[in-house]
């Protein structure tokens, strides 16, 4: 039972990070109807920028507490990634609006490869360690242990997700975003500047991605140029699981996927009599993705649609 609860806690931490990234996918999909394949790379760049700032600050001998240094790093990573999101949309998606579906997919993949290579140029091919600045004391809850850092990650994710929901539901920007996602042409007629809204959506999603990147890097104490690929794919799975285009769905899907993955990795050995081990953790996300798309393509919270293109 202890293991069970421990896996649920691990899954919750992992899942809230997935949820944060999934929001970026789902927002872009909701508005433009396309999958931003380069979003995983935005997450990676966010982590890398933060690490660079943090280690520069530490080497410069500034006397600041650890959390303040990480905070500064994150505050640099957020605008950097927002800018990146803006550029991605401008370069790869805007010229192709209304083109065949395959074209933006290919540009996104091309962009994703380019960003990885740029990351290699700047940060190299090796794993970069994230300095131990944050409180990693463990707390034990009902026999399961969790670090204070992980508690912070979960809480921060919840705050950010609530914040995003408030922005989308209550503000003028949010209303414009919802209008654009329903019908860009009509939204334009109603005085919404569709281009600005799309740019804003990309920037908002990328900013969340940057924070998620920092969380991944602190949680695993390392970052790598290729880290965005797998986590991006899983976050996308989470978005599909919850019903793509639906913000609440992305959050639910993310947390659910995190928990499924942790439980799966924890119990696969017992279930298969030791034949498969926890190194198969990554297949759960794909299995879930395939099963969801077969049995409920609209996702858990998505609207029922006759035909998903």
């Amino acid at each position: 039972m202890d293991i069970f609860f421990q896996q649920i806690l691990n899954g919750l931490v992992l899942g809230s990070i997935y949820a944060l990234i999934a929001l970026g996918y789902t927002m872009v999909y909701g508005i433009m109807g396309l999958i931003n394949f380069a979003h995983g790379e935005v997450v990676m760049i966010g982590a890398m920028v933060c690490i660079t700032v943090v280690s520069t600050l530490m080497h410069s001998g500034v006397d600041l507490p650890g959390w303040a240094i990480v905070l500064i790093g994150t505050l640099v990573a957020i605008p950097a990634c927002a800018l990146l999101g803006f550029v991605i949309e401008r370069v790869a998606y805007r010229p192709l609006r209304g083109a065949q579906r395959l074209a933006p997919l290919i540009t996104a993949i091309g962009l994703s490869i380019s960003l990885q290579q740029i990351a290699i140029l700047i940060w190299g091919r090796n794993y970069i360690p994230f300095p131990d600045l944050l409180n990693a004391d463990t707390v034990s809850i009902m026999g399961a242990s969790i670090t204070k850092l992980q508690i912070m990650i979960v809480v921060l994710c919840l705050v950010l997700m609530t914040g995003l929901l408030v922005v989308v539901e209550k503000t003028k920007l949010g209303r414009a975003m919802r209008a654009t996602s329903q019908n860009p042409a009509v939204a334009g007629l109603m005085g919404v500047n569709v281009n600005t809204i799309i740019s804003a959506t990309f920037m908002l999603g990328s900013a969340l991605g940057a924070i998620a990147g920092v969380m991944v890097a602190t949680n695993y104490s390392q970052a790598h140029y290729y880290m965005g690929f797998m986590i991006g794919l899983k976050a996308f799975t989470a978005a599909v699981l919850g019903g793509i285009g639906n913000l609440g769905g992305a959050v639910a899907g993310g947390i659910l996927l995190g928990i499924i993955e942790s439980l799966g990795a924890g119990y696969i050995g017992q279930l298969t009599g030791g034949f498969l081990g926890s190194n198969y953790q990554d297949i759960f996300a794909f299995m879930v993705l395939i099963l969801v798309l077969i049995f409920r393509p609209s996702g858990l919270l998505g609207e029922k649609m006759a035909d998903r293109a």
Partner: protein, 360 residues
């Protein structure tokens, strides 16, 4: 096709045939045997790209996990023809077997995704490809099947009777190294795949695929069995992927999960898209260009930097991939229909452009 070719076409045909036959000697003589090896790989990629083209170009089903079928073919050959299990079956058993396995996996993947289209299909196929790779990477414990990340070594070369393509053969006083021998084998098979693809394209099945690609509902109203025709596309595409995989295994003598990453799937898709989706000549061009160009870049980037800057600023491998990524983006922005588009697709792109222009 029923009409006789005119003499000009026959002349062109014979000329290109001769050119292809002497190509390895020209390339090998001028640039060395390592370039003949690259030409061999180009042929392998032509086969792969033509296989994927059946799924993506003809039937319009976006598949990002195509490399999984290549992997199935390669591992079938490797496991049944290497000291790993001590089994040494001949290639004329293992390659067809690998192709059949690949086709089976194609149907296995195709069945659950029948209802999916576009981006969703792309993601599911991508996930499928990754699952296959993860299994290959981890199936070394507790029972060692694939030997995990180390891969399988010392795979048997292809042997035809007494001739062993893995070692040089003396012919008319000349010693032909393996890369030359494999070139001719690959050439023959590539020609077969090209003929198969072009015959398919203009057949009843090929027209059904086009109908499916353009409008699934209309196609099914015209009496096309959507399920069967989709599964056929997946199976035939996977079949040629499986054959290419077996050949790769024999040619390379070594397979590991690393060769079957997502990037390879993307590479093959890029060959099709950049070359001209749906058009066989375009796909061949795309495959050849994308195999050869990175190798040229590899040879050029390093020395160029040494000459102009005096030192290596950018690692050539890094620069090559960066250029590849940028080229993909630029190509889509400038010429989304590819280098050599088919007439039909060209028309589709023109229609889409005009519609977009009218919308404002």
């Amino acid at each position: 096709m029923s009409k006789a070719f005119d003499s000009k076409q026959i002349g062109l045909f014979i000329a290109s045939g001769i050119a292809l036959c002497v190509l390895p000697f020209v390339v090998g003589g001028a640039l060395g045997n390592s370039w003949v090896r690259i030409v061999d790989f180009a042929l392998l990629y032509v086969m792969l790209a033509l296989g994927l083209n059946i799924v993506v170009g003809f039937a319009g089903l976006l598949d990002l996990g195509f490399i999984a079928f290549y992997a199935v073919g390669a591992y079938t050959y490797a496991l049944l023809g290497s000291p790993h299990f001590g089994i040494h079956w001949p290639f004329y058993v293992t390659i067809p077997l690998g192709a059949l396995f690949a086709a089976f996996f194609g149907i296995l993947l195709g069945t659950p995704v029948l209802r999916l289209k576009g981006d969703y299909l792309a993601i599911v196929t991508l996930g499928f490809g990754e699952i296959i790779r993860i299994f290959m990477n981890n199936l070394n414990a507790p029972v060692n099947i694939t030997n995990g990340p180390q891969g399988i070594n010392l795979i048997d070369p292809i042997r035809v009777g007494a001739a062993d393509l893995g070692s040089p053969i003396n012919l008319f006083g000349m010693s032909l190294p393996p890369v030359y021998l494999y070139y001719y084998l690959f050439l023959v098979l590539t020609v077969i795949v090209v003929i198969m693809a072009s015959r398919l394209q203009h057949s009843r099945i090929g027209r059904a695929w086009v109908a499916l690609r353009e409008d699934q509902i209309a196609a099914s109203a015209m009496g096309i069995n959507i399920r069967n025709i989709k599964l056929l596309a997946f199976a035939l595409g996977a079949l040629s992927g499986g054959v290419a995989g077996g050949l790769f295994s024999a040619f390379q003598g070594f397979v590991s999960p690393e060769s079957f990453s997502l990037l390879e799937s993307i590479m093959i898709l890029a060959m099709i898209v950049l070359g001209g989706m749906g058009n066989i000549a375009g796909v061949i061009l795309g495959a050849v260009v994308l195999t050869i160009a990175p190798e040229i870049l590899r040879d050029v980037i390093g020395p160029l930097q040494m000459k102009t800057m005096g030192r290596m600023l950018i690692d050539p491998e890094n620069a090559r991939m960066l250029l590849f990524g940028i080229a993909m983006v630029v190509m889509m922005l400038v010429r989304p229909e590819g280098m050599l588009p088919s007439k039909r697709r060209k028309a589709e792109f023109k229609d889409a452009k005009e519609a977009a222009a009218q919308k404002g």
